[in-house]
Symmetry: C2
């Protein structure tokens, strides 16, 4: 084996010529019956003579028959394929949702086509077109941050594709939806901070064209109102939803004449991590001098020093819920009323970064 710059050449092997797959005609021929009978037997359609049916199944197994999905799809106009569009595949929340979807759909023999929009509206439109093109039976989507135009989603629906939105949804579009109760989670987080004795709580908010960030902000405002704490605009920082932006926002907040004593990074744990790193660099003690709460329960929040309080979204469960919603909606056709929106209640995970009172966890 010779090698050039880390690239190895092995000997050339001839391409195998693929064996021809057995078809229902092969089975029919062998049994001296017609292909339609074979098809019927294989699909449990109408009534086939139990004896011949058994014979058919037996020879099908013998000949290692596998239904040609390409032909079947063409004939049926269905593909048993579900398209999933997420902003980023390699983000914990989304990859976990995909895992959940996969677990539930796998058992039913469905396939998944995964696409990522990279947070770009244009790319999202392309993904939709690809999936329509592929004749998927269902599209599961969490919207990207850019763009308020949802005509591409309507376009998919017009093609007879079942659309399910999750997490980042367009409220005005009437589709199946699986969401988190962001407002409630947000309120709980703020309530927890107040109960820990924090007085001036800042909010890092995300792009307000995404409903999830609107809801999280709303929860923040409601909680403050409930406890009669005045809302101060200087404590609300727009568009701080990456680690870098979170860090930047923190530097700004901590240099205020009257700085906050807690920061709720409602956008993500990455943002919260930015907060923590700045605090550590400035030798500001967390949680005694500054409380920090993130969102999403990314795995790393458990291993930072100190560990970060955050909100778990039950992402894998969410994925399963989405898939089951699809099956429920499409199998139980007799049921007139099915739930159109399922809301999952997230859970506040209290860790060291907000444990001001030093209570044993």
């Amino acid at each position: 084996m010779q090698s050039i710059a880390g690239i190895y050449f092995s000997h050339i092997y001839p391409p195998m010529k693929p064996k021809r797959r057995t078809t229902i005609y092969d089975i029919a021929e062998k049994l001296n019956i017609t292909a339609s009978s074979v098809s019927r037997a294989l699909n449990n359609r109408s009534h086939v003579n139990p004896a011949t049916k058994e014979l058919i199944l037996k020879t099908a197994a013998e000949l290692n028959y596998k239904r040609n999905v390409l032909a079947s799809n063409l004939r049926m106009g269905k593909t048993k394929t579900i398209g999933v569009i997420v902003p980023r595949i390699n983000q914990n929340f989304f990859s976990n949702v995909i895992v959940g979807i996969e677990e539930a759909t796998y058992q039913k023999g469905y396939n998944l086509i995964i696409c990522q929009s990279n947070e770009l509206h244009e790319r999202e439109v392309q993904c939709i077109n690809t999936l329509i093109h592929q004749h998927v039976d269902c599209i599961i989507i969490s919207l990207c941050v850019n763009g308020n135009d949802h005509s591409h989603l309507q376009y998919a629906i017009d093609h007879g594709i079942q659309l399910i939105q999750f997490d980042r949804v367009a409220d005005e579009l009437e589709t199946l939806k699986v969401i988190n109760d962001n407002e409630q989670a947000s309120m709980e987080a703020i309530t927890h901070l107040i109960e820990q004795g924090y007085k001036r709580i800042a909010l890092l908010e995300g792009p307000q064209n995404l409903n999830i960030f609107v809801q999280r902000k709303s929860g923040y405002l409601k909680a403050l109102n409930k406890f009669n704490i005045p809302i101060e605009n200087e404590l609300i920082i727009e568009n701080a939803w990456t680690k870098e932006l979170g860090a930047e926002a923190t530097r700004k907040l901590l240099s205020l004449p009257n700085p906050p004593d807690a920061i709720f990074a409602s956008t993500s744990d990455f943002s919260a991590l930015g907060v923590l790193e700045v605090a550590n660099a400035m030798h500001i003690k967390v949680p005694s001098q500054l409380g920090i709460c993130g969102y999403a329960n990314e795995p790393f929040t458990e291993i930072t020093t100190p560990s970060i309080t955050t909100i778990d979204q039950f992402s894998i469960y969410m994925g399963k819920t989405i898939a089951n919603l699809y099956f429920q909606e499409n199998e139980n056709k007799e049921v007139a009323i099915t739930p159109k929106t399922i809301s999952i209640k997230p859970k506040l995970i209290i860790r060291s970064s907000t444990n001001k009172k030093g209570v044993k966890e």
Copy 2:
């Protein structure tokens, strides 16, 4: 909108009846020509009158024609679909490889079907069968830890499916491969530890039926030999490839009469994290009393206290390389000799956990 236990019912909307998609017959009829001409024009096959061709393309655009891939696939016996099988989707290395594959294949109009084996051989076999069933053109796979039987891979090849193995590969199977130079990376890591002044370096090794773990161990042994350091079996811990097992191994190692002063968690960063947590809990100073090196450059290694030295595998680049290897192999049919194995050299990322000499990073 009424609500029951977090499930909301909205009003019922009627299912849209999907519009019929336009076919080449529609175009042909409109232009008073035959479908075959339309097909030829659309596919640039043989010679079509430039004038009619332009007319065809124009009306195709007008009627919003989209090729029916189901029919095309059936006719062509190709699907322009690539199946990817990984042990776990939500593991950073794998999700990044998928991102890389996706980026490269997306541009070429290919689709991805993602499957995860969950580290179970049985499930891996199922995945292969599913993908064969779906008539994918190519299967990209990284093997699960269990099982030495690779007949299912051969089975896919026999079906005329291009097989590409990456990272965890079966050496004896002659397929396209994209791998890391694990041995080299391992040697570099150990060399670095020795240069930092560590004398007794322990190894956490992974299941030895996976070639990557064999190679990493081999690199460890070779490096020690090179520096004339005796190999001590009590410093080599088998099967320590999760955080928990890494922690357990560390407790065992540190309770030895003559404990190690460095631990190379060759299996993963998760394992290294287990080491770090035990060290922190036992108030053993890292890196001065114990050096720690992981593998994979998981994002969290940067944010632990102290940050963890590790090895970057260029996962996204690896994904792109895999995809391009496929295209190269299948497009340039005239090229007789193409590289069969591409080896990517990983990079040692030196961080605080091994910086014993206190050199400024």
